[in-house]
Structure formats: C-alpha cells, structure tokens
Amino acid sequence: MSDASSESAPQSSPPAGSSLPANWRRVVDESTRGPVVAFIASATAWLLIGSLLALIASFKFQFPDWWVQQSWLTFGRVRPAHLNTVIYGWISMAGVGISIWLWARLLKTRLRGQWLLLLSVGLWNVGMVVGTIGILAGYSRAIEWVEMPLAAFALIVPALLLAVVAFIRTLWQRHVQHLYISVWYIGASLLWGPFLVIAILLPIYSGIPEATANWWYAHNILGLWITPPALAAAYYFIPKVIGRPVHSYHLSYLGFWTLALFYNWAGVHHLVGGPAPQWVVTVSIAFSAMMIVPVIVVAVNHHLTVVGHFKKLLYSPTLRFVVFGAMSYTVVSLQGSLQSFRYWQEVTHFTHYTIAHSHLGVYAFATMIAFGSIYYIMPRVVDWEWSSPRLISLHFWSTGLGVGAYVTALTIGGVIQGLQLLDPDVSFLTIVEDTKPWLVVRSVSGTLMTIGHFVFAYLLARILLQSGARPDGPAYFHPVPEGTFDTTGGDGRGSAPTPALDPESTS
C-alpha cells in the first residue's frame, strides 16, 4: 500500500508525460481501433468455430455412430481441431488484441505499427484456416498442442513476429518511465510465445525426447503465452474498475519473477510414471510445486485489492468476469501444483480429470478474463456502448455455470475413472460405462457455454456495427448507486476512476 501511494504520486516533471494532451486516452484508444477490432473480432469467430467443434467431439461420446461416414468428422480429428482453434485462434488472438490496447494505454502513447498488426491478423487468420482444414483433412502432425500442419505455422509464426515488431516500436515511443506490472507480463509473453513456437517446430526431436519437448512446449504455451496477458489484464482492470491502486507493487514483481523462473520448468510432469528419464520428470514436479509461490502472491495481491469492494461485482460486467477469472487462476494453479505429485498423478493422469483441469485454466481463468477485458475495451475503442446488460448477464451466467458444471463433472468423473483404473478387478468396459454420465454433463455444460459464446458474438457484432439507437451510458447489470464508481476519469467516461488511482498514473 505504502509503496503504491508513493509511486502514484506525481514525479518531478516527467520528461515526456508533461506534453500529453488532456484527452490523451481518447487519442491512444483511437490509435488502437483497427488492430484491436480486427484481433478481437477474429478471435470471437474462432471461438464460435472452436465451440462447435467441441460440441461435435463431446456428443460423439453419446452417439459414437453419429457422423462416422465422413473421415473429416471423426473424433480424433475434431478434437485437435477444437484445441487448435480455441488456443491459437480464440485465446491467442484475443490475448494479442487486449494486449495491444493495454500496451498503448499503459505506455501512454499512440500505437505504432498499425499496418504491421493488420497484416499480422490477416496472415494469422489464413494460417488458422489452413491449419483447421488441414487437421480435419487428415494432415495433423499428431503432436499434442501443435497439431496444425507446418503450412499453417509458416503463416502464424511471421504473424507473431510482425506483432512483436509493432509492440517494440510502441514501447520505444513510450511516455512513461515506470513500467506497470501488466507491461512486464505482456512484454515477456511476446518474447516467450514466438520462441516457444519456433523451438517446438525445429525438426530435431523423435521418440521419448520428442515427448519431453512436447510437454515442455504445451505447458509453457499455457503458462507463458496465455497466462501472462490474462494476469496483465487482471492487474489492470481490477484496480481500474474498483478505483484503488493494486495492493502491493513489490508483491507483483515477486509474482512476475517467480512465474518467469518456475513455470517454464513444470511441463514434463505430464510424463510422470512414463518412460521419460526420471530426472526430467522430478525436476518438473519440483518446479510445479514451487509454482505455489507466484500463485499465492498474485492471489493475495488481488484479494487485498478487491477486499471491501465486492459489492461492485453486482454492477460491473468487466469486474465480474475478471474477478471470476482471477479466482479461477488461484484454484487452477494450486490444483496444478498438487496434481503434479506422483501419488496424485497415479490416479488422475490419463483421465478426464486432466481435461477438467485444462478447461479450468484456459476457460474459467483466461477466457473469462478475456471476456471481461473486451467488455471494458470495446466501448472505448469504437466509441459506442454495449446494447444490452441483460444479454451480458446471460453471457456471464451461461458461461460461468457452464464451465462450473463442466469442471465439476469431469473432475469427479475423472477421479472415479482413475481409481477404477488402479483396480485390476474392475473391467475396462465397466469403467467406460461409469464414465458415460459425466460425459453427458460435459455435453450439456458445453452447450450452455456455446450459447453464451453466441450471445457474446451477437453483442460484439452490435457494438461493432453500432446498430440500434446509441445506448445512453455504460452497461451495468443493475442501476448503479451514486458514488459507487468514480466518474471523474480523465477520458470522460462513466466508469473510469480518478487518474491518481489508476494503473496508468504510476509514472
């Protein structure tokens, strides 16, 4: 608290900051419009495609003889197509879109390299089309999390690098001296992401070493590419919407460095009990356990920022989605640390429990934060408001309850499946039979989440097309009592807190 207030005090004549016009936020937001809209609209399209693929895959467990005549709709192709579209299409592109806006805002400068980013989004989309069709047509590389054929990555890697150039050019022109923690996370992930993808595409692996490299990669895509922008957004939006600075800057630095140092070693716990060299697996388990540190640090920091302001969750869609995501981050990460241990892996590895865990991470954490961020960013970028708080509420409840039921069902079902697998007296077909009810819950909750996605896409289409009458003010779930949110924000928008208290004012 003390360090926060000292850092948010105006520093002696900031060299460039003083030349900022009073309406700098509008200028900055406008400069990000094209790329932010392109990335987020594309991401949402891939979210819809990915959700439909997920539903096809899930319902095949209830109807295994449904759509089997066509090879391109077989489960073993639809499932990786789902994973690749939601990871590289939805959450990656949404992450870049959100990061662009946060980056320019936090560096207090116009976005540079808009054309690079527009070219990037174009290449990326073509790559995703090639990759998705490639998997369905039978050209999967069959390496988990990197299934798309090389032709797709040949487009996506340059797209990533173009985005990096635009981010560096913007960083170069920054009007701040102090780099807020969100900038650390976004900047680091932009170095990590392309490095990871290029490293796993190198044609140097086979056999068991390929498997260790595979899980080093897959887990790091989660932890070093998807997680950092989501944490950056949580660090930005929670203080921003609530209207008080983040509890402790020191804790946020500690959280960053421990994540950077520990997370990237954790992935090979996916091979516990497998034929990989034992030392590799043991190292990964140790670092997975050490991940407790950054997780607790982030959780404590966010909790102490929000504490006393939980009532604001009633009104602000952004806050509600982001806090849901931040809490899920704590749960999924602690769960991740615990389940890396051998005794727990012995039960849950190879079961639907793992699928529950991955959805808790990519969905309940990262995706929910992405939704919340987009609800905040989009009105500022396109200068229009969300048309229906009701539909936002429907979106929240269908996705929130959907993922809640999804994770609960597969966690319980997975543990039962795992315990049964350990008992040689239970026949395999009995286990299959006992898993079926939980897979029905998965299909139902997946349907619920997909409904939420279509509602979200509809809202996004309406705000982008500015259809209907101009809504009169920001979308809140309920009428907001006077004084709940500070309305004296520098950009003249209803939900912006005073400049002295928001993360952008730390320089």
Partner: protein
C-alpha cells in the same frame, strides 16, 4: 531503457534455460540408446498404418506407455509384461505416447489381441465386439461390396448378423485398414531382464 531490457531479457533467459534442460538435454542423453529386443524399424505397410493411426487421432484416447511395476495397475490389467522403456520408441518419428485412456493402453496390443478378424471388426464397428464401447466406428476404412465381387486377394471382415450389411453384401478391408492392423501388431512389449539397461 536499461530497465525494460533487464526485465525482458531476464524473462527470456529463464525460458531459454528450461528449453535447454527439458527439450535438448534428453535428446542428447537418449541419442545413443539401443532399441529394446523385439523393437525393429517399420516396414512399408506398418509405416502406412502408423500414418493412419496418426491421421485419425487414435492417440487422443489410447496411450502407448505401460506404467512400471508399483505405479498404477497396468501390468495387473494385462496391458504388458513390463513398463515401457525409451528403447521401445527409437523408430517413432512422431511420438504417440498419449495422455488419455478413454480406451485402453495399446503399447502391447499386439500380444493381447493378435486376431486380425477381431481387430478389423472392431475398427469397422467397435460395438460389434465390445458392447458399450464409445469408440468411433471407421466405416471409411472399409468397403461394402457384393460377395460375388470380392477378389481372392481381398480380406473379408466377419461380422455378427446385427452389424453385417444386408443381403449378400460383405465388408472388405481397404489397404489402409490392413496397414493399420499391421502397425498395431508391431506394438508388443517383450519381457526383458530387470537389470539390463534397455
């Protein structure tokens, strides 16, 4: 500038280190490993079958790694006489270890279920031999044709009347289905001496 450089280069160095340790070192450590007894390079047909296995995503439900003694119940289940070893995979260009057991492990399927009739019937319609199975059927790996048109070189799949095609039609395996069978039969684990370093 120095501060930004410090943050981002430090972060980059961290991941470069784990890349070296977890992705590159195992390659070096295992580069000289010998294949275990019974492990040999794939024939043309086996390799073709392996490509079908990869293409259809069998890995998403079937692992290819038997757990060692004392960890899980794989061996008690009859899934293999020993835990899998790095030497079992030396000819695998794209590893198919898998992370999921919606279906059983397949690393020793060649010993457990060598019957070609069973395997082909199971691929054509899993529920014809495994009632209650949730495995997809792969009818596109087979042809349905009139019995009189079947050439002597072709392999007919025996099916119970419930799943057999109507009339005088029969189900014939395509080259891909036979290749997939050939590949599955390469998946065997020979018992080896506990002390040898396979």
């Amino acid at each position: 500038m120095t501060r930004a450089a410090l943050i981002f280069l430090g972060a980059f160095a961290a991941v470069a280190m784990s890349f070296t340790a977890l992705a590159l070192l195992p390659s070096l450590q295992l580069s000289t490993i010998e294949p275990t007894p019974g492990t040999s390079d794939y024939t043309y047909s086996e390799q073709l079958g392996r490509e079908v296995y990869i293409r259809e995503g069998c890995m998403y439900c079937h692992s290819q790694q038997v757990r060692p003694e004392g960890f899980g119940a794989d061996q008690a289940r009859g899934w293999g006489p020993r835990g899998s070893r790095p030497g079992d995979y030396v000819y695998d260009e794209t590893h198919q270890l898998g992370t999921m057991r919606t279906g059983p492990d397949l690393h020793d399927i060649g010993s457990r279920q060598p019957s070609r009739d069973w395997q082909l019937a199971h691929l054509y319609q899993p529920r014809s031999v495994s009632p209650g199975s949730v495995m997809p059927a792969y009818p596109y790996l087979f042809e349905v044709k009139r019995e009189s048109n079947v050439r002597p070189s072709e392999v007919t799949v025996p099916l119970s009347s419930e799943y057999a095609p109507p009339g005088d039609s029969v189900v014939v395996a395509t080259q891909e289905a036979l290749a997939l069978y050939d590949y599955l039969m390469t998946l065997t684990l020979d018992p080896i001496d506990q002390n040898s370093d396979g």
